[in-house]
């Protein structure tokens, strides 16, 4: 059975739940898709911000579970880039992105901050997060479609005549 840590399982407020959703979509977006939609955004004003933490690349140790659901073990590392910034309004945006793209980390952190701002939340939700989510879901559906074409059912082999 799948088991996640208590910390990860803690009840989230609705605000935290939506933030968790957009952070995940921003992180999993292909950089080119993110750039394309980001550049097409028409923001009320160019966002002013300063870095709390400049984009920094490091390694996160990935944990698996013995037998898939048993005790955790350290599997190996993954490159991760993180960034934190503050808008002029004081809102903090942050990002943790698999890989080494500083541009991805900055854009995602900025989007995270703007999605918390009343003035820009709706625009980013509809013109950035939702389209990126759709791209990811379509890509996943395509992979699933291809995989399911290779599905075998050894059980349905015809035996004799019916």
């Amino acid at each position: 059975m799948s088991v996640t840590s208590q910390q990860a399982n803690a009840e989230l407020t609705p605000e935290q739940a939506s933030r968790k959703r957009w952070i995940g979509i921003l992180a999993k977006a292909e950089l080119k898709d993110l750039q394309q939609h980001w550049q097409a955004l028409v923001l009320p004003a160019a966002p002013e911000y300063q870095f709390i933490r400049k984009p920094e690349t490091g390694l996160t140790m990935l944990r698996g579970r013995i037998g898939g659901s048993g005790q955790p073990f350290n599997m190996g590392e993954m490159t991760v880039t993180r960034c934190a910034l503050r808008l002029a309004s004081g809102t903090l945006g942050l990002s943790y992105i698999a890989g080494r793209s500083k541009e991805h980390a900055i854009t995602a952190a900025l989007a995270d901050a703007l999605l918390q701002e009343e003035r820009t939340a709706e625009l980013l939700e509809s013109a950035l997060i939702n389209p990126l989510d759709e791209i990811q879901q379509a890509a996943q559906a395509e992979r699933m479609r291809e995989a399911s074409s290779t599905k075998v059912d050894f059980f349905t082999m015809v035996r004799g005549e019916d």
């Binding site: 996640t4 190996g76 074409s149």
Partner: protein, 369 residues
């Protein structure tokens, strides 16, 4: 023992320049890009990521290019690079049950729920060289036959062994009320023997594929009582989550492609346990099926002591397996023989000459008696 020597700088510079020339090959042929390696040699990339112990396909492809395709050299480069980066925490344990399945087979249950999905595989190919790949231009990619495309979606599948364990014939991977322990990390502290199962697994996942494959083969041929079955083999994408200190809740930071293998092995039982099937577990980056299977088989062999089996063979001996599984260490130690051992060798040469003189003198004395 090798000794430091001076000089040879010019020769070394020239040797490196020559290596770059050899690596480039015939300049009238288009140079290979890192992107092409990442996209078109993905299984080589997967191996470098596994043994380099860093998931980053672009870096692994770069390492392969730089190393002229030598996997062990590329792995060494990736390991060296990782030491330059800071650690950004630990992920939440990867939930392989929620994997977006792209391949899933079982050698034990034909009617597994969700069905068997072959995915992209070399299994069932005839291993005949495909000369269309050699001809000018690429072999056409044949489209998937839409007739066979199943409308049914491949939902996250429960693990076969967990599901088919209603009779309790297969050991559980955890007790119902068992709390998580923080596993030791061999990149932070050296391995002590006997090593806990989590550390053994970490070591095997970054171990040399060839070494583990051969040990697995030996375990199946009778060096250890293993009798394995491939309970389940699955490949696909899994989300990666971590809990940033700033937020206090888990967020997704990306996903990665994994291959997971669960082996089922016979176990005769002991005083405390009735006979049941035991399990060996393997996990690997990418589509590294051979690696995941080998890890699972050796992982099980190394449980001999914990299960009260007699430890008779090297593949059941933790210290033998774990301290020789790392290709960077093994390559380093073997390669160091290329360094100057002139003084060492000179002294051995002297010793052999002396011994021979002594024997010759003794023989002469004998003959003169």
């Amino acid at each position: 023992m090798y000794v430091a020597v001076k000089g040879g700088e010019k020769a070394i510079d020239n040797a490196h320049a020559l290596m770059r020339k050899t690596r480039r090959g015939d300049e009238s042929i288009t140079e290979l890009t890192v992107e092409q390696i990442r996209e078109q040699l993905p299984l080589a990339v997967d191996r470098v990521m596994n043994e380099g112990s860093v998931y980053d396909p672009e870096l692994a492809a770069l390492a392969l290019k730089q190393a002229s395709g030598d996997a062990v050299e590329a792995i060494f480069l990736l390991r060296a690079y990782r030491t330059t980066l800071p650690r950004i925490g630990y992920s939440e344990p990867l939930d392989t049950e929620a994997m977006q399945i792209e391949r899933r087979i079982s050698g034990t249950f034909k009617d597994l729920p969700g069905g068997q999905v072959l995915g992209s595989t070399y299994d069932y190919t005839h291993r005949l060289l495909d000369f269309t790949l050699l001809a000018e231009g690429e072999a056409p990619i044949s489209a998937l036959d839409p007739e066979t495309s199943d409308e049914e979606t491949l939902d996250a599948c429960p693990r076969v062994l967990e599901l088919l364990n209603k009779e309790g014939l297969i050991e559980q991977s955890r007790e119902a009320d068992e709390a998580d322990h923080t596993p030791a990390d061999l990149t932070r502290e050296p391995v002590n023997y006997p090593a806990e199962r989590a550390v053994r697994l970490q070591n095997l996942v970054r171990g040399d594929e060839g070494f583990l494959l051969s040990l697995s083969y030996a375990s199946m041929r009778g060096y250890g009582d293993s009798h394995p079955f491939a309970g389940e083999l699955r490949s696909g994408r899994v989300n990666v989550e971590l809990v940033p200190e700033e937020l206090g809740f888990a967020i997704e930071i990306g996903d990665l492609f994994l291959t997971e293998c669960e082996m089922v092995n016979q176990f005769h039982g002991n005083k405390n346990q009735p006979p049941q099937f035991t399990r060996g577990y393997g996990l690997a980056f990418g589509r590294s099926e051979r690696k995941a299977m080998s890890v699972a088989l050796v992982e099980r062999s190394l449980r001999a002591e914990e299960l009260g089996e007699e430890v008779l063979y090297p593949n059941q001996d933790q210290e033998f397996v774990l301290s020789h599984s790392d290709c960077v260490s093994a390559n380093g130690f073997v390669s160091h023989l290329k360094l100057p051992h002139y003084v060492d060798f000179q002294s051995e040469l002297e010793m052999i000459r002396r011994l021979r003189r002594e024997i010759a003198a003794a023989t002469d004395e004998e003959n003169n008696k």
